[in-house]
Symmetry: C2
Subunit: 218 residues, 2 copies
DNA sequence: TACGCTCGGATTGTCAACAATCGAAAGAGG
DNA sequence: CCTCTTTCGATTGTTGACAATCCGAGCGTA
């Protein structure tokens, strides 16, 4: 009955549909025909409808009465709005993480940063992308606010719909890496205000990078 | 297909259920029996199920597989987490509003503040509560980020489940009013950083007030 | 009495059929 | 040729029935 259980019923169909969308198999703007999805997933229309309404509440799908559901399309304005919210959320996470000063987090961050630097130096943008995600998740978890993590991941899913087919080029990774190190330093140092500001600025920079199609750091 | 339409299908049943919960008719912890709700609302189980899953995704309801859905109970920790997120969101809203410097907002804020001060002086906490909400909404709207408004209202709905039966006592209204004036001044002045900080601190203060049962300013 | 098992009522999960609504194509009229 | 109306196919919205699952009452045994 508490926050952690509020993730909702992890119904198989819901996750399958979510995967179809986030993987790009169902592209933004695509129609979500209930019967078609039902037979594709081997179930009836009922579970599909519920999954669709859940995803609509999540923002991945938009519904029009009597006209059906469509995969959300994210305009440039939408993307800016989403990045603004994400920026505030990540800023808060780092602020809280810095205020808590957990020793385990310090180790985890140093470890991740070392791996990221290694991935950068051997130009492995695939690995860097994953480590980047792990780095963000680590700080979100370190905030001690599970709701914040959930909110952040929801926003991130929506953002992933923006220019989903942008290639991950390895430009600006250097500056991204520097920003990460600055954030980690502030968190480890316990400087909550600096951590917040740097984290927020970092996400805003992510919007810039995303806008110009170099999508490594989203 | 854009963000504004993403509010989801405004199905009657969903709003009815939401009202039952936010009005306190269905208290936190109460079971949401599908058949009972169905006949109470005069529909079948289908729409009720969909409404429940939507509300679960929203955080007002928690679901357990094969065991049913319950109105979310918000612990003190949950409340703190929610207030932290709310604080960041409202801070962002005021920061953005300050950066935009819209003339119409200035007028609106001055007007609202005058009404709030009047309500405070005649000790009308009911009116003050409503004006308080309007003040927050005005700043959220002035941010120019509809997604932010939506997120904020979602969080606010969840917070309203915390100690829902706390009486609205007219204590601390004076300090709350001062904080509002300080926020508005920063927004009007275009000082985004001050606006953000004051707004965030204001919400954190709201948590303190809420914790000690004086729930005027949530 | 305490513990484990079985069974039964109640509730959720799923399904297929029916009703309501929409959009597009066909047709009538100007 | 264009526009408005009408019809029709397709899709969503809703329903009641059936299957699966859970929880607790009752029974038996140590």
């Amino acid at each position: 009955m508490t926050d952690t259980a509020a993730v909702g019923r992890p119904t198989i169909v819901r996750h399958q549909l979510e995967r179809l969308i986030t993987s790009g198999e169902l592209a933004p703007g695509d129609r979500l025909a209930e019967v078609q999805l039902a037979e594709r997933l081997g179930v009836s229309r009922g579970p599909v409808r519920e999954a669709i309404t859940a995803l609509a509440q999540d923002g991945l799908v938009v519904q029009f009465p009597n006209r059906g559901a469509f995969v959300r399309t994210v305009s440039e304005d939408d993307a800016r709005h989403l990045y603004e919210v994400r920026s505030a959320l990540f800023g808060l996470a780092c602020q809280l993480a810095a205020a808590r000063r957990q020793a385990t987090v310090e180790i985890e961050l140093r470890d991740l940063l070392a791996s990221m630097r290694a991935a950068f130096e051997r130009d492995d943008s695939e690995a860097y992308y994953e480590l980047n995600r792990a780095f963000h998740r680590a700080l979100l978890s370190a905030s001690g606010n599970p709701r914040l993590l959930r909110q952040y991941e929801s926003i991130s899913r929506e953002i992933s719909l923006f220019r989903a087919r942008a290639l991950t080029v390895s430009e600006n990774v250097a500056s991204s890496l520097e920003e990460h190190e600055a954030i980690a330093a502030a968190v480890i140092d316990g400087d909550a205000e600096a951590a917040r500001r740097r984290a927020a600025d970092h996400i805003v920079g992510g919007l810039r990078r995303h806008m110009k199609e170099s999508a490594v750091d989203r």
